[in-house]
Amino acid sequence: MNVIEARSLRKVFGKTVALDSVELHIGEGRILGLIGPNGAGKSTALNAILGLTSYEGELKVLGRDPWSERDQLMRDVCFIADVAVLPRWLRVSQALDYVAGVHPRFDRAKAEGLLAKTSIKRASKVRELSKGMVTQLHLALVMAIDAKLLVLDEPTLGLDLLYRKQFYDSLLNEYFDRGRTIVVTTHQVEEVQHVLTDVMFINHGRIALDCSMDQFETRYQEVMVHPEHIAAARSLKPIHERQLFGRSILIFDRVDRQQLTALGEVRTPSIADLFVAVMGQASEAPAGGAGQKGAAQ
């Protein structure tokens, strides 16, 4: 059974279509990055998965309907929303007491252990903690819950580099295992690239790309083309071209690697660059596909 199964998921706000025929099939043990511009429908999709918003279509999370069974679902699902949502009046000790009181899968000792590694004091109120510390506290609470699915919506927004790095490190080293699934949205794409097992681009409520990182690496190649080969390279129909320090960088989809090696230096594109390429392609689709957007940076 997949952790998340969605068929023709759709959500409309007034005249805006936030989600349009979205299909999701996310299996156990995956770390999915949901990437998209602001207003693309990422948060709407997550909210639907978490039972925070109603939807049309079919959606099952761990076999349950999130909209009608949110409270039962939350025994197996954890989430950290876009900004710190811990109430400012709450004391750290009260947060531990409360979650231990209401959550059957919360391991208090584990949370205490995680907090011991930080400088967060038990008697502090959330309002007295820095933004980074609030995130550490929230992460400690969530990581101590033996959940099957963890949903992170811009979890590192507004954090400094040190905390961001730490966030994903502890998530991977101390939390993630094959029995868990993580769905994350973020704008800091470069930071999650090495973490993800799957990536999904979403734009205007539709899924623009859905592939595993293994597929990603075999499918997409980025070539820094030698100037003399540029015409040959363009004939292979790159999906994107940009200039960097006077060199042309082309991204190819499903082109033979050997053929590309002859043209220049080949490597796997960053998710961010591919994102720009795919989004550019999508918006220029009627004009013939192979987007030639120059200075996309």
């Binding site: 039972g51 925070l52 109603s54 929303a81 409360y98 059957p104 391991d107």
Partner: protein, 307 residues
């Protein structure tokens, strides 16, 4: 957790149905200190006032000598009832403002996203927030009243011993336990009667984006005004007024056996009419309304997002 959780994530640890409820009530008390601070502060001020009145008795009240013996009880009970009424009104005010904010503040500070990330149903959340003004606050007010009145009694005894008055007269004539029983009865009766008001306030707090007080007060006033302009009648307005104090004629027998009116400073137990109150349609209509408002608030919370 009472039992150590099993390492396997397949085993579903059971949590009793009342635990989330119990912790949600504690949570409300953590967030809203005014629930107990306000009655305690008022009780403290009441005691201060009482001490002052013992040290400097008002000139016209030089003890029971000048008073008709028939009114001794009322005269003795008066400061105790005043203090109790003050506390009951405090409880009412705290309850009203608590209810207006209960489902609004979690959306204002976005913490609703945190609460909703835990396995606590909207039902449990809303019912908890209804239990605070309808059960926790009245009980708290009662306990604080009892303690305050006992302290007042001790202070009176001390003053009498120092001033050479008769402690025996005070103890025999002051119906303290009867007073406290009537306080408990009045708290129960008024809370049941006001249940739809609390329900309405909670509904408004879960619905309104801002200005909860205005949304709570203006629509009922507007309906009354429209009724008056359209039909020159004020049925809705009198219904509203009836909801404020209409429980008294049913819950108490307001005329004493001798035909005089009950003195609100001391209502004898014999003047309580719980049967008649329980049989009054106003009570049951109110409770049905309260249940409807709460059901709407529970349903609404499912759709609620941060504002």
């Amino acid at each position: 957790m009472s039992t150590p959780s099993l390492p396997s994530s397949q085993a579903a640890p059971v949590i009793s149905a009342t635990r989330p409820f119990y912790w949600s009530v504690r949570r409300e008390l953590w967030e809203n200190h005014s629930i107990y601070i306000a009655p305690l502060a008022v009780a403290f001020l009441g005691l201060c006032g009482f001490v002052v009145s013992l040290i400097f008795p008002p000139k016209h009240e030089t003890g029971l000598m000048g008073i008709d013996p028939a009114y001794h009880t009322v005269a003795l009970a008066m400061p105790y009832s005043h203090a109790a009424m003050l506390l009951m009104i405090t409880g009412l005010i705290v309850g009203v403002f608590y209810s207006l904010d209960a489902l609004h503040s979690e959306r204002r500070d976005r913490s609703i996203l945190f609460w909703k990330s835990l396995p606590v149903s909207d039902f449990t959340t809303v019912i908890t927030k209804a239990v605070i003004p309808m059960l926790v606050l009245p009980l708290l007010v009662f306990v604080i009243t009892v303690v305050m009145q006992l302290i007042m009694l001790l202070l009176s005894i001390a003053a009498l011993l120092l001033g050479g008055g008769s402690v025996a007269t005070l103890l025999t004539q002051l119906p303290l336990f009867q007073l406290q029983f009537v306080v408990l009865y009045s708290l129960a009766v008024s809370t049941l009667w006001y249940a739809p008001i609390y329900g309405w306030l909670l509904l408004v707090s879960s619905w309104a984006r801002r200005a909860t007080l205005l949304w709570a007060v203006l629509p009922p006033l507007a309906i009354s005004a429209v009724e008056w302009i359209a039909f020159h009648t004020s049925h809705f307005g009198s219904l509203l007024l009836n909801r404020l104090y209409g429980f008294a004629p049913d819950a108490y027998v307001l005329t004493m056996p001798d035909g005089s009116l009950v003195d609100p400073h001391f209502i004898p137990v014999t003047q309580l009419a719980p049967g008649r109150f329980l049989a009054s349609p106003g009570l049951w209509i109110g409770l049905v309304l309260a249940a409807a408002f709460l059901a709407a608030a529970i349903r609404l919370r499912r759709y609620r997002e941060p504002i």
